[in-house]
């Protein structure tokens, strides 16, 4: 069954260069002023099935939040059709309407009502809300004495117990502590199992990969792709990494090739990496850096460069450098290497190759995590 269906949705805002909130401005600009049209959403269509956990990613200003606001009914679209089955509960900001002067209990009722609960519904769920928030002791304390963590917990507990079919979340979990975040995501699983739909905007790609079934990737008001979460996030990271690299224009150095001696290694086996480069200007010394990432989590594991190790490279016209990762302690899995060449300035690069080489570590998965750390036990 379908939960949300969006068809040809567009939205643009009129942006004024000067504040138009005075009558004077309006009167002086009746015949058109300096208004600019800004298209935030441009002909968007998608379907979300019931019980799906959908992540939305994209750079700031790509229209994610506007899309969520339209789904929540806060903003009306210019054109397009929206069909939503069931009740929508928006959670776009922590504790909307919370009153600092009132007690946590009063705020539960206030916020609950804003989320569409009746008093009897809140009465019924009050114990669950309080115990989920772990704020039993502070339930009669005014909110102004709460820490930001307590604030998050209270707001989230109310929101998650609201009676809804579709939950909209906008980057709200970034605040809470890790254990509470964990608890929330467990709750999301429960919600999903009940056949409820969650749409989740986040910049935390790890959360997106871990919890979303599918991901909408938005770019300047359009949906760039809508597919399996892992697939989209990987592509997003790749494009993101390249777009943030600021390469020096007309750089005099280029990386020709990056190779390893094998494709598959065991843990503790040496990895030899060979980088071939070409330098037009051999008078200035250069540096090389390597970054090792895990392929499925895109986790940055280890980065090192020649300047860290106090090695100066006098470039050759056609040069080669080798590095050996001696007895590397990576656990079984897939990894890749980014290679960068820079001069003194580590912010701007002479050349950069993302995912220059991919390799796999095999072996029996004895330990957990990404790297094996040498350890011993003492039992007394």
């Amino acid at each position: 069954m379908r939960a949300i269906k969006i068809k040809n949705l567009s939205k643009s805002f009129m942006i004024n260069s000067v504040s138009s909130r005075s009558l004077k401005y309006t009167l002086l600009n009746v015949f058109g002023g300096t208004r600019q049209k800004l298209t935030v959403l441009d002909d968007i269509s998608f379907d979300i099935k019931k019980g799906e956990f959908i992540g939305i990613i994209g750079q700031n200003g790509c229209g994610k939040s506007t899309l969520l606001k339209i789904l929540a009914g806060i903003i009306e679209p210019d054109t397009g059709k929206i069909e939503i089955n069931g009740k929508v509960s928006p959670f776009l900001e922590l504790g909307v309407g919370f009153q600092e002067e009132l007690s946590a209990l009063d705020n539960i009722y206030l916020y609950g009502s804003l989320l569409g609960m009746t008093k009897s519904q809140i009465d019924e769920k009050l114990n669950d809300i309080i115990s989920f928030s772990e704020l039993e002791k502070f339930i009669n304390t005014p909110l102004k004495h709460f820490s930001s963590g307590m604030y998050v917990r209270l707001a989230f507990s109310v929101a998650i117990h609201a009676d809804f079919d579709n939950l909209l979340l906008d980057e709200v979990l970034a605040v809470g502590d890790v254990s509470f975040q964990q608890k929330c995501f467990q709750k999301f699983e429960e919600i999903k199992e009940k056949g409820k739909t969650i749409v989740f905007v986040s910049h935390n790609l790890k959360q997106i990969v871990n919890f979303s079934d599918k991901v909408i990737w938005m770019e300047s008001g359009k949906i760039k792709s809508f597919d399996n979460a892992k697939k989209i996030v990987n592509r997003y990271i790749q494009s993101h990494v390249f777009s943030t690299i600021r390469k020096i224009e007309n750089s005099k150095v280029s990386i020709r090739s990056v190779n390893c001696d094998k494709n598959i290694y065991k843990t503790k086996e040496d990895i030899k990496i060979t980088i071939k480069y070409q330098a037009m200007d051999v008078s200035k010394s250069i540096n090389f850096g390597l970054g090792i990432y895990s392929d499925n989590l895109n986790e940055y594991i280890f980065g090192f460069n020649t300047s860290h190790d106090k090695i100066k490279i006098k470039p050759f016209k056609n040069g080669t450098i080798e590095t050996i990762l001696r007895k590397q302690s990576l656990l079984p899995g897939n990894y890749y290497i980014n290679v960068v060449c820079f001069n003194k300035d580590e912010i701007k690069f002479l050349d950069f190759v993302g995912q220059a080489f991919k390799f796999e570590i095999i072996g029996n998965q004895k330990y957990r995590g990404l790297v094996e750390i040498n350890h011993s036990w003492i039992v007394k």
Binding site: A72, P90, Q99, L102, S113, L114
Partner: protein, 255 residues
């Protein structure tokens, strides 16, 4: 619908609780304020000025006028600011926006009810017959005034989102109307052709009729424009609802 009623209830309750939070005397202020006002009026007008000698119980007469006028000012001014004040709510959550204006007028109604309690107590002290059949008309006048204020608040709050000048314009307007309404002077002082013009003002009609119930025991009469005010207020209400309905769609974007 049930959910919306709950939102109204919760927001009104919150407003009420917040009003005197942090003050020592708390809700007592709701009584102390009109009481203090009456004391001033009594000393100035009944003891020192002898300005309204033609009217029996002139301080009471004044207090009724001022209480009703203040209620009108509170409904319209709070209403005017209500949408902008609750912008964080409007931008983050959806519920019928009219609730916000409604709640702000309820807060004014609660305030009025405290004032009315003081009025009743004072009337009993000054031996004015409160327990009269005509007293039943008083709530109807309050409702009439509330509908007028609420309708204007709908228009004002919608405009205020777009044009911040509205609050100054309304302030000026209220100042003018304070004198165009028989509040601090007795209506009987107005000479012949002007009384007709004055009575076009619906607030003048409401305040005068309200006073007629308690101070001068005539039957509430509408000799000037029998149905004009009710009809006019009804029109303003329709106009307010239409304007508000049309502009509320873009509130979240404009705030």
């Amino acid at each position: 619908m049930k959910q919306n009623l709950e939102i109204i209830r919760q927001l009104t309750y919150t407003d009420f609780k917040l009003r005197y939070s942090g003050s020592v005397l708390g809700y007592l202020w709701s009584f102390l304020k009109p009481l203090g006002l009456f004391l001033v009026l009594y000393i100035v007008f009944a003891q020192m000025l002898r300005f309204g000698d033609s009217v029996p119980n002139f301080p009471m007469y004044l207090l009724i006028g001022i209480v009703l006028w203040n209620f009108f000012v509170e409904v319209t001014t709070n209403g005017l600011h209500s949408i902008v004040q609750r912008s964080s709510l409007i931008k983050k959550i959806y519920f019928p926006r009219i609730i916000i204006v409604l709640v702000s007028s309820f807060s004014a109604l609660i305030n009025l009810s405290f004032n009315v309690m003081v009025l009743i107590i004072l009337m009993i002290i000054f031996k004015i017959d409160v327990f009269h059949l005509k007293t039943l008309l008083a709530p109807l006048y309050i409702i009439e005034l509330w509908v007028l204020g609420f309708s204007l608040a709908l228009i004002l709050s919608s405009l205020y989102v777009r044009y911040r000048d509205i609050s100054y314009i309304w302030e000026l307007f209220l100042q003018i109307f304070f004198y165009a309404t028989p509040i601090i002077y007795p209506f009987s002082m107005i000479t012949s052709p002007y009384d007709k013009y004055l009575m076009i003002n619906p607030i003048a009609q409401i305040i005068t009729d309200f006073r007629l119930i308690f101070i001068t025991f005539d039957y509430p009469t509408l000799p000037y424009y029998p149905w004009l005010h009710l009809f006019g207020i009804f029109l303003i209400l329709i106009l307010g609802l239409v304007i508000f309905q049309r502009s509320q769609r873009s509130f979240a974007e404009q705030l």
